[in-house]
Assembly symmetry: D2
C-alpha cells in the first residue's frame, strides 16, 4: 500500500465535517441533473477515471527572467518532488502520474525512483528532454540551437540526450517522450528557415527510430520565447507537418499558452483530432504570452471549450483517441502544491462540465443553424456547478473534500521547510 | 497594339523632364552596387520581367461596415474597371494582368471582355468566386455558410458557382481559381468544427475535379471576419491540409493581412515553399486586422522579408516554384488608381531590394551563427534606395518615371468623373 | 398601464409549468448561500433594481463589410424598434430603457415617440450621434473626419448635429449624449496627430457648452476601425484626457470590444472609477477585434471581473458612482430579440455573481498576499449558478422564467414578418 | 583627454581605406538632396549633436527565464562595463553617456567611477533603481511588490532605495531617475487595483520630494511581465496620470517593447508631447512581447515614425521639449558591444531620416487630406539611404566609418576574454 504524506486521520476528520453538506449538494444536483436527463452517478464514474499528470518541476517555485522569489521548503531533488506530488495525489486523487524532466530529475539509482513512485502511488508519465539550456559538463553549447544547430556535433549531442531520456523512461514505465525546444532566431536572417527545419526533421527522425513500439513522441509548438524573431516549431501547422513526416507514433502536444493572441485553440484541437495527430496537452492559462498561470484562472470558459472538443470525440468513440493530460505551469507567487491541486481540479471540472453537454440537442441545433440555442446548450453545461461531483469523486477515492484546507491544516509546508534548506538563486526553467 | 488610356505625349514629356536626374541616379547607384559586386543591369532585367495582378474590385472605392465614402468617377462595370487597370499598367508597366471576381464582373459577352483586355494590353489572372454574399436571384442563402453549409442544396449551389468561375476563366485565358469564403461561426457551439471541415473538403473535391489540367486552385486562409468566433479555413495549418488533401493542383494563397497579431508571415511562406504548397499572395498591409491597407504602407520591412524568402527560392531554382502575385486592398480614402500604382511599385521595390541581398555572405553568416552580420546583410539590401532601378525599368518598358504625377497631370479622374455617374450606397465587398 | 407585445396569458402559462422547479432551485440555492452567509433575498432585491439599456439599432440584423444577411420581420423604423424592445423588456424585465441613434431614429413627431415609450414601459437612455456616415442631404462629407476634419465647415456641421441630438434627447427625457466617432487615418502621415486632437477638443468644448446641467456626455475610445492606422480617441488614456479637459459632466464610456489584444479591461474600469471618470459601458463580447458578439458569449469570466470592480465600488459607496449600462452588439446570425434578451440576462448574471463575492474575506487575502485564496474567492462566486435568482427576479417583476422559450412560443417573429416587408441591402451600421 | 579603448591608429587606417568611397557617396547624396531642397551639411550638423545613452547592463549578455548563454569576456563590474561603453562611444561617437543601475553598479568609491567616466569621455545619464529583485541582504522581500506592497515596511525600503539612487546620481552628475517596477499580480483578485495604485502614488510622492530641482523623474509603463495578470503601471494612460499627479518634474518614459500588440506607439508619443509629459525613451525592438531585440531590427519604419513625431516637435520648437534617449536591449545571441553600436546607429539613422521629411509639403497634404502624397512624403524620407551622413558625422567626430569592422579588427573581445574570467549562471536582469 501507498504511504500517505499527510496524516490520513486529519483528512478523514476534515471530510467528516464537510460530509453532510456535500451529500446534500450532491443529492440536489443529482435531482436537478435528472430533470435534464443526466445520470449524476455516470458522470461521477467518468470523473473518477480521469487523471492529469503533474510535472516534476512544477512543485518548485518558478520565476521570470527578472527574478525568482523562492518559497519555503522547496524540493531539493526528484525524491522531494515525488513526495510533494504524493501530497497532491493523496488529497485530489486526480493526479496519478508524474512527468519527469532530464537532466533535472536524473538519478543514479533509477529503481529507487521507481520504488518511490510505487510507495507514493505515483506512476510515470511522459519524459521531457532539455536541450534549451547548457549543462555544466556539456561538450557543445545550445546557444544557437540543439536539434537544428548548424553544427552536426551539437545536433548529435541533442539527439543522444533525447535517446537517453527514452532509456530512462523505459525503466520507469513511461510510454512517451515530449520534445520541446527553444531553437529559433532573434534576428531576421540569423537562421535559414528551411535549412533549420530540414535539420530538425533529420534529427527527429533519429530520435523516432529509437522510440519503442508502444511509445509515442509528442512535439510541442510555441509561437515565441526563448527565441524572439522565429521559432522552428512555431505553430500547429509546422507541428502537424512534423507528426506527419515522422510517422504514426508522432503526435502533437498542445500547450494552451503557446499560441498567438486571439487564437481559437479549441479549433486547433478539433483539427488535430480529425487528422489523428492530437497527442495531448500541457494545461495552464495565460493572458498575454506563455504566462504559465494556473489552469482556468484567467479564462475558464476557454478550458471548457477545449474539453467540449475532447468529450465530443470521446463520445464519438474515435479510434485511437487517448490524449495525454499534463499540467505545465510556473508558480511564482503561490505555494506550488496548492496551485497544482487547484489546477488539477480545474482540469477535471472542465471535463465534468463538458460531460453535461446535451450532445444530441447540440447536434440538432448545429444542423439547423440555431446558433443561439447551440451556444446556450454549451452555457447550460458550463454554468452548472459540478463541485459536488468532483468532491464526491475525491471522497470516494480516498481524497479530501476540500484539498486546500486539508493541506493547510496539515502543516506539511512548515514541516518540509524545516527539513529542506532554502534554495536561492534564479534557475528553475519552466517549459 | 494596345490603346493608351493616358495621352502618351503627356507621359513622354513628363519623362523627358525627369530623365537626366534619373540617368544620373541610376548611374551612381550602378557604381555603388558594383562596389558590392552587383550588376545593376541584371537587377533591372529581373525587375522588368516581374508582374503583379490588379484585382478588378480594387479600382472602386472600398468601405467598412460603418460606411463607404464614394470617390469620383468610380467604374460602373468591368469594362470601366479594365480601363482603370489599363491606366495602372500604362504608367507602371508592372501590372500586366487583372484578376476578376464573379459575379461582380460577370458579362454576357465574354469575348468582348477578352478583346478589351487585348486592347488595353491586359491579361487575366486568377478568377475569384464569391460565396460570401447572397445575390438577388439566389436560391439558397449563404447566411450560414456556402461550401460548408449544413444544407446540401446550398453547398451544391456554391460548388456550381465555382465551376462557373472556372468556365468563364477558361474563355479568358485565366489559369487559376482563388477560393476564399467567409464560412465559420459567431458563437461557440454554433458549428461542429470537424463536420464543417469535412463538408468543406467534400465540396472542394468537387470543384477540384472540374479544374483543367493546366490550372491551379488557390485556397486562402484568414483568421477571422466575417465570422467572429471561428473560421473554417482559419490559418495556414488548415490551408496546408486542404492543399494536401486535394492534390497537386491545389496550393495555398497567403494574404498578408489574414494572420494573428505578431505572426511571423515570412516563416509561413518558407514552410509552404518547402512543402510545395505556396500558390501565391494577396498583397496589402495591415496594422490591426485585415485592414487591407496599401502594400508596404505600414511595415515595408516585413514585405521585404517576404520577398527575401521568394528570391531565396528563386535563386535556389526550386522546381515548380512560380508564385502568383496579386494586390488585394481596400482604398477607402485615396484614389484607387493611385493607391494601386504605388502599391504595385512597392511590391516590385521589395523584390528589387531582395535581389540585392548578398546570398553567399548571408549563407556563411547563418552557418557560423553570426546573427549580427546576417541581419546586417539583409538591412544593407533593404536600405538601398532602388527607385532608380524601378524607374528606369518603367521608362524602358514605356511607362512613366513618376506614375502618380503623370496620372495627376493627365486629368483622367476628372474625365471619367464626367462620364461615369456617381455610385452611392455602401456595398463594394473587399476580399 | 403598459401594453404587452406578447400575450401575457401565454407567458403566465409557461411560467406556471416552470414554477415548481424554479421554486425548488431557488430554495436550495438559498440554503446553500446561507451556509456562506449570504441572504439570497437581498441579492434578488438588488438584481430586481438592475437595468441595462437596449440600443435601438440592435433589434435589426447587423452585418459586416462583406455582407448583411437580413432576418425576417426586421423593424422598418423607430416605432417598430420600440415594439421589439418592448418584447425584450416584457420578458426579461431588465431592459427598461432604449438608447436612440440619430439620424436613424429621427422622427417628425417626438411626442409620439415619447408616448410609444410610455405605452411600452420604456424610457430613453443616452442619445447617440452619428458622424461616421454621410447622410444623403449632407452639405459636408465626413470622409476625412467629422469633429476633427481640417475643414471648419465640416466640424461645425458635426457639432450642430450633436447639439441637435441633445435637443431631441431633452424632449424624450434622456440625460446623456454618447459621442463615438470614427475619425482617424489610414496612412502614416495622413493626419497630424496633435492638430487633429486639438480640433477634437475644440469641437467637443462646443458640444459640452450645449449640455444641460443634469446631463452627462460620454466619450468612447476605440483602438481601430473604421480607421486602420490611427484613431483620434484610440484608448482610455486619450479618453481620460478628454474627460478631464472638458469638465465634470464628461466621462468615459468603455466598450468591451474596443481594446488592444490581451488588454486587462477590468483594470481600466478600476482606474476610471478611481479618478471619477467612468461614465458607463457598451456591453458585448469579442474574440478578435470589435466583433460585437453577444455579451458573455466568448469570455464570461472577463464580464464577471468587470462587474467585480463595479460591485466593489458600489459596496464601497463611492460618491457619484452610477455607471450607465448599455448593450451594443451586432446580431448577424441570430434573431436580434433573442440575442438581446440572452445578453441582457448575461449582464445581470455577472452582476449577481459579483454580488456573491465575499468582499471581507477577499480584502483580507489581498492584504496578506494570499493569491490562491483571493482568486478562489472570486471563483466561488463565479461558479455559483445564479439562474434561480435571475429567474425569480424576472418572475416577480412580471417577466418570463424562460424568456427565449416564451418568445419562441409566442410566434412574435412570424407575426411581424408578415407585417413588415423584407429589408434588403447592407447598411445597418453598428457602433 | 580621453583614453581610447581601441588603438586609434587601427581606426584611422580603416577609415583611410573607406574614405574615398564615403566622400563620393556623401557628395552624391548631397547633390540628390539639394534637388529636394535639403542642405546635407545642415542635416549632418544635427546628427553630430545627437546622442543616445547606453545602459550599463546592456554590455553583458542577456537571457530568458529558460537560460542564459554567456558570452566571452563579459564585464565583471561597472568599471569593466564603462570600458565596454567607452569602445561603443569611441567608434560610433553617438553614445556619450551611460545609464547606471543600482545595486548592480553600486561602488564604494563613487569618485573613482566619475573619474572613469571622465577618462573614457562618458557622462552619466538617468539612474535606474531596482525593486524587482530581492538582494541577498534585504530586510523585506519584493515578492509581492515594492512601492505598492501591502506592507509599509517593504514600501519604505523601496522608497529609501530610490532616494539612494538619487544620491548616487547627484554625485555622478546625473539629472534623472528612471523608475520601473514589476509590481502587479498573477491572479484575478490577488491585488486590489485601486488600493495598490493609491500605495504607488503615495510612495512615489515620497521619492518625488527627494528629487533635486533640476532633476526629472521618469516613470515607465509596461503591459505585462514579470506580472502576468495585472501590472500597476500597465499603460501610458496610467503613466500619464502618475506624471500629472506627481508634478512638473515627473514625465513618462516610453519603452518601445512595452505595449499591447498592434498599438500605435507614435501616436502615444504625440499625445505625451502635446500634454508636456514625454520624458524619453527606452529604445529596442520587439515582435511579440517585451523581446528587447536590437533597435530597428524588426520594424525600422516604426522607429522612423516615432522620430518623425520627435523631429516634428523639435522643428516646431516646443518649449521644454528635450526627450531622453536610451537604449534598453537584451543581447542574447550577439556580442553586446556590436549590438549596441549597431542599435545606436539605427537610432540616429531614424533621426536623420526624419530630418529629411519635407514638413511644409506634408503639412499641406494633411490639410488637404491628400493621404497618398502625405504618406509618400514620409516614405521618400525613409527610403533615403542616409548612411553617408551618419558615417561622415562619425568620421568628423573621431569615430569609425564602419564601427563593426573596426571593432572586429581590433581584437578587443579576445583581449578582454583573456582578462575577465567567464561569468556563469543566469542572472543579468534586463529591464
Amino acid at each position: 500500500m501507498t504511504s500517505a504524506m499527510i496524516d490520513s486521520d486529519l483528512v478523514d476528520n476534515a471530510n467528516r465535517t464537510a460530509m453532510d453538506g456535500l451529500k446534500a449538494d450532491y443529492d440536489y444536483l443529482g435531482t436537478a441533473l435528472a430533470r435534464r436527463g443526466i445520470d449524476i452517478d455516470a458522470v461521477k464514474r467518468k470523473v473518477k477515471a480521469f487523471g492529469v499528470a503533474v510535472p516534476s518541476w512544477g512543485v518548485g517555485t518558478g520565476g521570470t527572467r527578472f527574478a525568482r522569489f523562492p518559497g519555503k521548503g522547496e524540493p531539493r531533488h526528484i525524491f522531494d518532488k515525488m513526495e510533494d506530488c504524493g501530497v497532491i495525489q493523496q488529497l485530489t486523487r486526480v493526479t496519478p502520474t508524474v512527468s519527469l524532466h532530464i537532466p533535472w530529475d536524473r538519478v543514479d539509482d533509477i529503481s529507487a525512483l521507481r520504488e518511490a513512485g510505487d510507495r507514493l502511488g505515483l506512476g510515470f508519465d511522459a519524459m521531457n528532454s532539455n536541450t534549451f539550456q547548457d549543462q555544466p559538463d556539456q561538450a557543445h553549447s545550445y546557444k544557437f540551437g540543439s536539434l537544428t544547430n548548424t553544427s552536426s556535433a551539437a545536433r548529435e549531442q541533442a539527439i543522444a540526450h533525447n535517446i537517453e531520456c527514452i532509456e530512462i523512461g523505459r525503466k520507469l514505465g513511461s510510454k512517451a517522450l515530449t520534445v520541446w525546444l527553444g531553437d529559433g532566431s532573434n534576428f531576421p536572417g540569423q537562421s535559414h528557415f528551411t535549412r533549420a527545419f530540414e535539420r530538425y526533421l533529420s534529427s527527429m527522425r533519429e530520435i523516432y527510430k529509437a522510440l519503442p513500439d508502444d511509445w509515442r513522441i509528442f512535439t510541442e509548438h510555441k509561437m515565441y520565447e526563448p527565441a524572439f524573431y522565429s521559432t522552428v516549431v512555431q505553430d500547429w501547422g509546422t507541428n502537424y507537418i512534423i507528426a506527419t513526416e515522422l510517422g504514426p507514433k508522432a503526435q502533437c502536444l498542445v500547450d494552451l499558452g503557446h499560441h498567438a493572441p486571439n487564437t481559437n485553440i479549441e479549433m486547433i484541437v478539433a483539427r488535430l483530432i480529425q487528422f489523428g495527430k492530437l497527442g495531448g496537452f500541457h494545461f495552464n492559462d495565460s493572458k498575454y504570452g506563455d504566462d504559465d498561470l494556473d489552469t482556468g484562472s484567467i479564462d475558464p470558459y476557454r478550458l471548457f471549450l477545449v474539453f467540449n472538443e475532447l468529450v465530443d470525440s470521446e463520445t464519438a468513440g474515435i479510434e485511437g483517441f487517448h490524449p495525454a493530460h499534463m499540467l505545465d505551469q510556473s508558480h511564482n507567487v503561490t505555494d506550488p502544491i496548492e496551485s497544482l491541486m487547484v489546477s488539477a481540479m480545474e482540469v477535471v471540472r472542465a471535463y465534468a462540465q463538458a460531460l453535461l453537454v446535451d450532445r444530441r440537442a447540440l447536434s440538432a441545433y448545429q444542423e439547423e443553424n440555431d446558433a443561439l440555442m447551440a451556444t446556450s446548450t454549451l452555457k447550460t453545461a458550463f454554468r452548472t456547478d459540478v463541485e459536488p461531483i468532483l468532491a464526491m469523486a475525491r471522497l470516494e477515492k480516498g481524497g479530501a473534500i476540500n484539498p486546500v484546507s486539508a493541506y493547510r491544516a496539515s502543516g506539511y509546508r512548515a514541516r518540509v521547510a524545516r527539513e529542506r534548506p532554502a534554495v536561492t538563486g534564479t534557475g528553475g526553467g519552466i517549459v
